[in-house]
């Protein structure tokens, strides 16, 4: 460090030079403070999203860095929300990466007393096994009156109001095709 720089780094000198004799303003500003910028300035990209809680439909901006969400806040461009969010919408990132979020499949066998590990692939195969078997075992081609039924009443599906239209569409399409009619969601609650 050169002498003049060293001298300038000395707070008292800065205080005097900058007219900040009491050391309350710029003279005491640290290098970190001087160069501070909002972390969203470093985002790799900004995603456009919609709040997942209620149905007001507030628009969100999602700032991403190194594949991780670093901030979620309101999108001012929205004609509905004008950049604002409620506490739930504001807590979106906290929900997304919360301490209790589950990332792995968990399996509980019949009469089991604890969760077990299971791979996603195995879980999918096991679920398909059960759907196909249950459907076969309980298929109703006709009603007792002889009317067409074409269904199984032993499989039911619940949920949808928190999901995307495209997800609901595939869900309804698939389940209808395999003869499941008990497809329901939160519209009833």
């Amino acid at each position: 460090m050169g002498f003049s720089k060293l001298l300038e780094s000395w707070p008292v000198v800065r205080q005097l030079r900058e007219g900040d004799a009491l050391g309350l303003g710029r003279a005491v500003r640290s290098e970190k403070s001087r160069t501070l910028k909002p972390r969203i300035a470093d985002a790799d990209h900004v995603g456009h999203s919609i709040c997942p809680f209620c149905a007001v439909g507030c628009a969100q901006l999602v700032y991403v860095k190194d594949g991780e969400v670093i901030q979620v806040e309101g999108d001012p461009a929205s004609p509905i929300s004008r950049g604002r969010l409620c506490p739930k919408g504001a807590a979106t990132k906290n929900m997304h990466d919360g301490p209790l979020r589950e990332y792995k499949v968990k399996y509980r066998r019949p009469y089991g007393t604890s969760w077990e590990e299971l791979s996603l692939d195995d879980a999918m195969e096991m679920i398909v096994d059960r759907i196909v078997a249950t459907r076969d075992e309980t298929w109703e081609e006709e009603t007792p009156d002889g009317n067409p039924a074409k269904r199984t009443m032993a499989i039911a599906n619940l949920g949808g109001a928190t999901l995307d239209n495209e997800e609901n569409y595939l869900m309804k399409k698939l389940l209808t095709a395999i003869g499941v009619v008990q497809v329901e969601n939160q519209a009833r609650i």
């Binding site: 509905i80 309980t138 009443m153 032993a154 999901l163 239209n165 969601n185 939160q186 609650i189």
Partner: protein, 894 residues
């Protein structure tokens, strides 16, 4: 929302949130908008700042009341009495919007002489069948029309007399032709015209009656009624805002219908600052009804075939098609859907695979399924993004039902109570369930958040808004799109070699969606493109008017046709609001046809001129001979105001140029609903299924058509008027939490804001029961008992009913066993008696007891609940007396 569907033609909010700022009066009832839709509430605040009155009518003084210019406290479950009083006030004081009512509503229509009213039958409409406990609606029809029956067949599932619930869009109006009901009286004087029937029906709903039944004062009621009236007419408009505070009753659909009647009488539908704003509680609950994950409808509100339908596609279409209005093209919508699902396999020769569709019974809804589960008839259950163990009524019955399954798949972000019922639930604590005795196999599948997937939500104003994937889901987390796509792919592989006809719907199912990435995520864009549909050349369709019934078009949901017009994702449009008008037609895409304010033809007078300069919105441009304005006109753009359909006109052509409700067979707003609703053509005050009070109007205590489960031991009821359960109980949400808590109780920043279950009571009730602020109380019903911290507050107002002061108990319903903050689940107290139209539970008004202290622990809890039940004679099944209809009819009229 069948009430809105039946009244106006479409089951969605008639307006959009931003337009609330144009209201001269905003009436919020059955909603706590400031708490549950805070960001939407900014538009109410804008209206208030512009001088609008904001009225909140609610049992509780909430954060919405705190912002209102007027709060009126009423007893939970008395809303129809209140609103019926408003109807009476309008009619008694000549305050209706005369030209609007005469020209745009069915007020002048003459009803069958066989119709008789609840006022004539002590609480029952004509056509009541006590054995079936349901109505034959034949006598409710317009004079000179018959209930439409297909080709002489008695097809239960399709008779318009049974078209109901979400299917009842545009009330198919059997027998109507060329846009006019057969008999009308434009002077509104005919004794059997809708207007006069309405007048008689509500004549007893005087201000004094309202005050006595609802527990407010006459002055409070009059202030509300007057504010509604003076803020309506050509120069002014008022809006209604509601949410599940209205729907979650055994009279939920009728409740909303009452508001529809008021808004039609006052001329507030289809006009800026008017309308009925239905506020939905989940991000895409409107979407999950439009593209339904509901048992009784197909995409676009097409009805699911019923087991008693034994005709083919022609019979289905015959029964589904309305003589007038846009439901006249139901054939095109249905055939295009079948083409979207079964593609090349769907041909005219095989009825476009219509026979592939499974058939439904009258009720295969959620609560019916829970009962089937309890009986062991349901083996497998997939739960995706819902937490019935906490969020559904009668949580205990729901959890016991889960324990009867063979297998259960739960997809969620966290281990919610529904996934954990077998090791962490009140029943495990009490010993009623033992993990080592539960056979249910449970798969917990971690779900991707909205930040980890592409897709669209349909918000509360029918607006599709796209969210883009921001980051990849981690580890095993997957979207539902991934789950159902790969599930379908694997099921198709399993049956690939099958010769069994039952597998044809799977084998022929179109299931090709491009995937990307390591996890093979299907393209949500490609799914939306299929929903939108295309023509025979593969060109994306621009709108539902282009759909054909000959198999040349494909469309996965006709009301969403246009969402991918020009092969572009219209839902992903994000033109900033500052670059467009306040209707913001280039932000997202709204069904139908990107209209934001529905029925907006009604914003102009019959001649097509704006009713007033102040309320100008859509009008007829005589020079260019087309409708124009600030929104997409909700009318044939070139249909002249004086258009009169020829006698042989069908479908949209059968709608007159001055009839704005284009989905209705007659183009009119339905004050009186001759069909589409199963429990009456007009709303009537009934007491909640559980009530401390006798019905002040009729011996018929509660909605006779409500669904209840008198034989289900798991769903016992508090007898009406029981001393054991003397208080009115209502349940609700808080700003700081979300529904059953899966997205908030597990989230630190939200959990800390409301960290514990509490019960709100008035100081008088606290004194009466010895409850101390901050200490514990036990709240019990015939179903269960929970504990909560006591919040003594003047906000929980007592009501004076028929001269007696009555107390109400308030419980937020967010808590459960798990998460960062845990507590008693309010829904453990609620029951499964339902609205008959939509099978929705009554959790906004029931009865309970409250005592100081913590609830009994372990096995003593069910014992305590059973003892209380015994004292109250509240056991279901074998234990008499029944708390049901027999009791209803024996209570004496006051």
């Amino acid at each position: 929302m069948p009430s809105l569907g039946t009244s106006f033609g479409r089951g969605g909010a008639t307006t959009f949130q931003q337009d609330l700022m144009n209201a001269d009066c905003v009436t919020i009832m059955g909603s706590n908008m400031a708490e549950n839709h805070p960001v939407g509430f900014q538009w109410v605040m804008e209206a208030r700042e512009r001088g609008a009155e904001v009225q909140h009518i609610d049992p509780r003084f909430t954060r919405t009341s705190a912002m209102a210019t007027r709060h009126v406290g009423i007893r939970a479950g008395s809303d129809i009495a209140f609103l019926g009083g408003v109807v009476n006030y309008i009619l008694e004081h000549d305050r209706w919007f005369d030209e609007y009512v005469k020209r745009y509503t069915n007020a002048p229509v003459i009803v069958s002489e066989d119709f008789s009213d609840t006022e004539d039958n002590d609480g029952l409409f004509s056509g009541w069948d006590p054995e079936q406990a349901q109505y034959d609606v034949t006598t409710w029809q317009y004079a000179g029309t018959k209930v439409h029956a297909a080709a002489g067949q008695r097809e239960k599932g399709f008779s318009p007399s049974r078209v109901k619930g979400e299917q009842s869009h545009g009330g198919h109006g059997g027998g109507l032709s060329h846009g006019n009901p057969p008999e009308t009286d434009d002077t509104l004087q005919h004794p059997r015209c809708v207007f006069q029937i309405l007048k008689r029906h509500y004549a007893r709903y005087t201000p004094e009656f309202v005050a006595d039944a609802c527990g407010c004062t006459v002055e409070e009621f009059l202030a509300v009624a007057e504010s509604l009236c003076k803020n309506s007419g050509p120069e002014r408009t008022g809006a209604f805002v509601y949410a599940v505070g209205w729907t979650q009753h055994t009279v939920g659909v009728q409740l909303i219908r009452t508001a529809a009647i008021i808004q039609l009488l006052l001329g507030n539908i289809g006009r800026p600052g008017g309308g009925i704003m239905a506020l939905r509680g989940h991000a895409s609950i409107q979407g999950s009804t439009d593209i339904p994950t509901l048992y009784n409808i197909l995409p676009g509100y097409l009805t699911m075939p019923h087991v008693e339908h034994y005709g083919g596609l022609d019979a289905y279409i015959d029964m589904t098609t309305a003589p007038g209005g846009w439901w006249g093209n139901a054939d095109a919508y249905m055939v295009s859907l079948l083409k979207a699902w079964w593609g090349a396999a769907a041909t005219p020769e095989n009825d476009f695979c219509f026979s592939y569709l499974p058939r439904i019974d009258d009720d295969n809804s959620n609560y019916w399924t829970v009962q089937q589960m309890l009986k062991g008839k349901v083996k497998g259950y997939i739960v995706a993004g819902e937490n019935p163990a906490v969020g559904s009524a009668n949580g205990k019955a729901n959890r016991l039902a889960l324990a009867k399954l063979d297998w259960l798949v739960v997809r969620d972000f966290v281990e919610i109570e529904t996934a954990a019922f077998w090791h962490d639930s009140p029943e495990v604590e009490s010993g009623e369930l033992k993990p080592e005795e539960i056979a249910t196999e449970v798969f917990f599948m971690p779900a991707a958040t909205h930040l980890e997937k592409d897709g669209s939500f349909t918000n509360t104003q029918r607006l599709l808004q796209w969210h883009f994937k921001a980051v990849e889901p981690k580890d095993d987390c997957r979207s539902e799109l991934w789950f159902y796509y790969h599930l379908g792919k694997k099921i198709k592989e399993r049956v690939a070699e099958s010769q069994d006809p039952r597998d044809l719907p799977i084998l022929d199912l179109t299931w090709r969606y491009p995937t990307s990435g390591e996890i093979e995520e299907p393209s949500a864009d490609s799914v939306l493109a299929e929903i939108n549909g295309w023509d025979s050349t593969g060109e994306a369709l621009a709108g539902y008017k282009l759909l054909k019934a000959d198999g040349s078009t494909s469309c996965g949901c006709w009301i969403y046709c246009g969402a991918f017009a020009e092969d572009k994702n219209q839902a992903a449009r994000k033109v900033p609001h500052w670059d467009q008008s306040y209707a913001a037609l280039e932000w997202g895409w709204a069904w139908p046809a990107n209209r934001r304010l529905l029925y907006n033809r009604a914003s102009a007078n019959p001649d097509g001129e704006p009713w007033s300069e102040r309320k100008r919105y859509v009008w007829w441009n005589a020079d260019e001979e087309k409708w124009t304005g600030r929104d997409t006109p909700d009318f044939d753009a070139e249909k002249k105001p004086d258009y009169v359909p020829p006698d042989d006109a069908k479908g949209p052509e059968a709608i007159r140029g001055d009839h704005p409700f284009v989905m209705q067979a007659d183009g009119l707003g339905w004050i009186y609903a001759p069909q589409g609703i199963v429990d009456g053509p007009l709303p009537t005050h009934y007491e909640p299924h559980e009530s401390p009070f006798l019905n002040p109007l009729y011996r018929q205590q509660s909605n006779p058509r409500r669904q209840k489960n008198p034989d289900l031991a798991e769903d016992p009821y508090n007898p009406p008027g029981s001393d054991v359960y003397p208080y009115v109980l209502t349940t609700y949400r808080l700003t700081e939490h979300h529904t059953a808590g899966g997205m908030s109780r597990f989230t630190p920043y939200l959990a800390e804001l409301q960290p514990q279950m509490f019960v709100e009571v008035h100081p008088d009730l606290a004194r009466e029961r010895g409850l101390k602020h901050g200490e514990w109380a036990t709240i019990s019903t015939a179903r269960s008992a929970i504990e909560a911290r006591v919040m003594v507050t003047d906000r929980m107002r007592p009501v004076k009913i028929d001269g007696t002061v009555r107390q109400q108990v308030g419980l937020p319903y967010h808590w459960g066993q798990r998460g960062l903050t845990t507590g008693g689940a309010a829904n453990d107290l609620t029951h499964m008696a339902l609205d008959p139209n939509v099978h929705i539970q009554e959790v906004k008004a029931l009865t309970c007891d409250i005592r100081p202290g913590r609830r009994p622990r372990g096995a003593r809890l069910p014992d305590f609940v059973a003892e209380q039940r015994e004292i109250a004679h509240a056991d279901n099944g074998a234990a008499p007396p029944q708390p049901a209809e027999t009791k209803d009819t024996t209570v004496s009229k006051r």
